[in-house]
Symmetry: C2
Subunit: 480 residues, 2 copies
């Protein structure tokens, strides 16, 4: 009988974990093969296990069906082999909607069908800053509109971010030489704790698996170490329902890696993850081929919001401008956009059926910039993003799809339209909405966050007076 | 001896005109060939004459050198043939700088060397509105910053502009059938009067010779009529030093004309004009090949200000975004930009070594929109454009050439730099100015029109604090 550290009773999309004692000598990370087959009716999921140090081996699964599951371990070590158990999966608790996946081709939804409108932020190295700052970051997130966090697994070395991490992913000697044949379980346990805390706040952890801003050797490890690392992190974290896998930040800036490497990483993650979390890859200047089948959504670094609809139509996958430059005032051109422009970019993405992402880079006397280290938000943009998020979430479950390109507008015909007039300030416009529905109209000021009902009921093709101010929006919703 | 209506004494770049009586019967516009050879030392200029009605034939020249000129007419009519005269050309009066030409490859200057920074506006049909409105337009221009007016020779038929003109360029019968074998001298005399009045205000008349928005047949005349019209208008107006020739507004929207037609028009104008005024052509969606040798400068309809430097580098001619959409609030997307965005476009052009153009399309109860009919300016942008014009005119005579593309900046190394930070709001920037000069610096707010000196003297590569606000500029000028 297996020794279980978690109850054998678990909620749907919760974490089932089975823990076993095995060899603590030699190099368990390399020497020991261990995992479990989970069965639900005739379906089998293969979850790789991982060594957590101290002779402890764990295997986890996020069960995605209610009812009776069983499992059976496999290992090259007899003590870990052929351990079996039964798990009762009860319905998900309130607020647990399951993992996010792709729905309606170019949008997202939780596994229970609840639409998910990604409103992400970025704090690359927030888990490497020590508890005081990390907990402040979590407090900030608690009252923010953000429901996704882009974050690096590995520590980061870059402008405004030259501090050593608290934990290292691999054991190091006094000279800083890595032992890439092992992992440091404390590092991963810490990361896991933060992922779990994000989950409790309803925030997806968009985990960046590789990145170029490295001072420790993690960007140029041997291929077998890269691969072992991917297996290890998937084994540890795939049971967390709020995990997304991002192969890289700026993959094309990692000069030691080839396109074949990136393809292989995708396939390792795809094959190892029993829960099939979302998979993306973020570019520097050259887009990865997002048409490749293992890419679930388009994660872009781009300020060219004019192309959002083109990307949506080309890839037929959700398009997320994860990095369309940052609000702030730093030296670097990518980090000193005005709040107004960032809000504008969120709107431009939304009304083309895509999504934008946030980060902040305001100078700080202690070099604590949100984009890298977390802490507090200094700009006033989040409330405008919260306002847009609410408008989008009030939209149809099918998401906002492009409906107009003369002025940009998205929605679902007959149900919901959101137009954004950007630089233009017409005093009127002729709308041409899907026939068969009658609509209520509202003028929306994205910056002032006002919603002004327009008297009357509208249908078909009609001319409507507009505020004749720039950066205004109009929403139509089906009148009952 | 010739009968002269003007004195034989004329200032440099003034108008010399010789007038003769000849046949008033038959069709003088077609039957009579008439012109004059003007000689200055060994140089000969050929000026075509024109029939002004009532048996009067005129030939004009803008003499461009001081001293003794002589002329001798030629004609197929004995009464107009071989008339000779002598003209004394005195120095230009104060304020007469001569015609504008290309200087320093991608910039403009008057013939006397005074730099000309084009700050143009557009009022396509202003000369077709009757004296009351036309005189109001002139009063408006008098206090505006504009020194160039884009205007159509032919009347215009389009949204907000459906009124008949006061004058028609060709005789018409009661049914509106044109007699394309003749011209209406009153039409051209009126146009000429307005060109002269613009000249008195220091405003270049950028005369649009053809355009597609036609209700009278002028956009689809037979080729020989087009050609005769070009000869006629050049003969009448080339002596006005403030004339520019624009072959068309939106040439590519004129479906009856071929590229060979446009090339021919250019060559006719080029060959007929003894003063070689500037020649351009304005596009709809497809650029004319501005590399063709008869094109003196690039006249663009485009909102893609990001390409300004590319155009400057490609064509090696002055680049003028004559139409980068209009400030206003009308229905049409090209006519409802905010004032802020228009000011931004002027700046974006300037700091890439190019120029932008203005027009206004604010709704009016009487449909008097500046862009088409003139009248009064309703926006508040002109004062910001005046502010930029002053900054540019305080710059080096050689004009502003691109000096930086990370943040956009233009100027002349060692003398003058104007940087514009657009959407970006850095709190500081590392400038790298030409060594060997010391510079004074100023923060410039293009919207508030403030200039704030920055304490200190700067040279070489240095970091400087910036306002950390969007849409700010910085100017450096050589410290004495």
């Amino acid at each position: 009988m297996p020794a279980l550290t978690f109850a054998q009773d678990v909620e749907r999309w919760g974490i089932f974990e089975a823990s076993f004692q095995g060899p603590a000598t030699g190099n368990p990370f390399v020497d020991v093969k261990f995992g479990a087959k989970f069965r639900f009716k005739n379906r089998v999921l293969d979850a790789e296990g991982f060594y957590d140090g101290g002779g402890t081996y764990k295997v986890r699964l996020m069960p995605d069906e209610t009812g009776e599951w069983s499992y059976s371990t496999y290992s090259n070590v007899p003590a870990l082999n052929n351990k079996t158990g039964v798990v009762t999966v009860r319905p998900a608790a309130a607020g647990n909607h399951g993992p996010v996946g792709v729905k309606y081709t170019t949008h997202f939804a939780y596994a229970d069908g609840t639409p998910y409108v990604p409103v992400g932020t970025t704090s690359y190295a927030w888990t490497h800053q020590g508890d005081a700052l990390e907990e402040q970051t979590l407090r900030t997130l608690k009252t923010s509109p953000f429901n996704k966090m882009r974050m690096c697994v590995f520590p980061k070395h870059y402008s405004f971010n030259n501090n050593e991490p608290v934990y290292y992913p691999f054991p190091r000697d006094a000279k800083g030489v890595n032992d890439f044949t092992q992992f440091n379980p404390a590092f991963f346990a810490h990361l896991e704790k933060r992922v779990k805390e994000l989950g409790a706040l309803g925030i997806e952890a968009d985990l960046i698996l590789f990145h170029p801003y490295d001072n420790w050797g993690y960007s140029k490890m041997p291929a077998e170490v890269d691969d072992r690392y991917l297996h290890y992190i998937v084994a540890r974290l795939a049971a967390y329902r709020n995990v997304w896998w991002s192969m890289a930040n700026e993959y094309d800036f990692m000069k030691n890696k080839t396109m074949a490497d990136w393809d292989r990483y995708f396939r390792i993650v795809q094959e190892s993850d029993p829960s099939q979390h979302l998979r993306g890859i973020h570019n520097g200047t050259v887009l990865y081929d997002h048409l490749k089948p293992w890419v679930t959504h388009v994660s872009l670094q781009s300020s060219d919001l004019d192309k959002a609809l083109e990307y949506v139509q080309k890839y037929r996958k959700p398009v997320v401008y994860d990095e369309c430059k940052y609000e702030g005032n730093i030296h670097q051109r990518w980090g000193n956009l005005s709040a107004q422009e960032m809000v504008r970019r969120f709107w431009l993405a939304a009304v083309q059926g895509a999504y934008a992402g946030h980060a902040e880079t305001y100078l700080d006397p202690h070099d604590v910039l949100w984009w890298s280290k977390g802490g507090v938000l200094k700009g006033d943009r989040p409330k405008r993003i919260a306002f847009l998020r609410k408008l989008m979430e009030e939209g149809p479950a099918e998401g906002l799809d492009s409906q107009s390109t003369y002025y940009l507008g998205a929605g679902q015909p007959g149900k919901y339209y959101l137009f954004y007039f950007d630089l233009n300030q017409p005093a009127d416009h002729t709308f041409d909405l899907a026939k068969g529905s009658k609509y209520k109209a509202e003028w929306i000021d994205p910056w002032e966050m006002t919603i002004t009902p327009v008297p009357g009921i509208f249908e078909g093709k009609f001319d409507m007076k507009l505020p004749a101010k720039p950066y205004m929006a109009v929403r139509f919703r089906k009148a009952e």
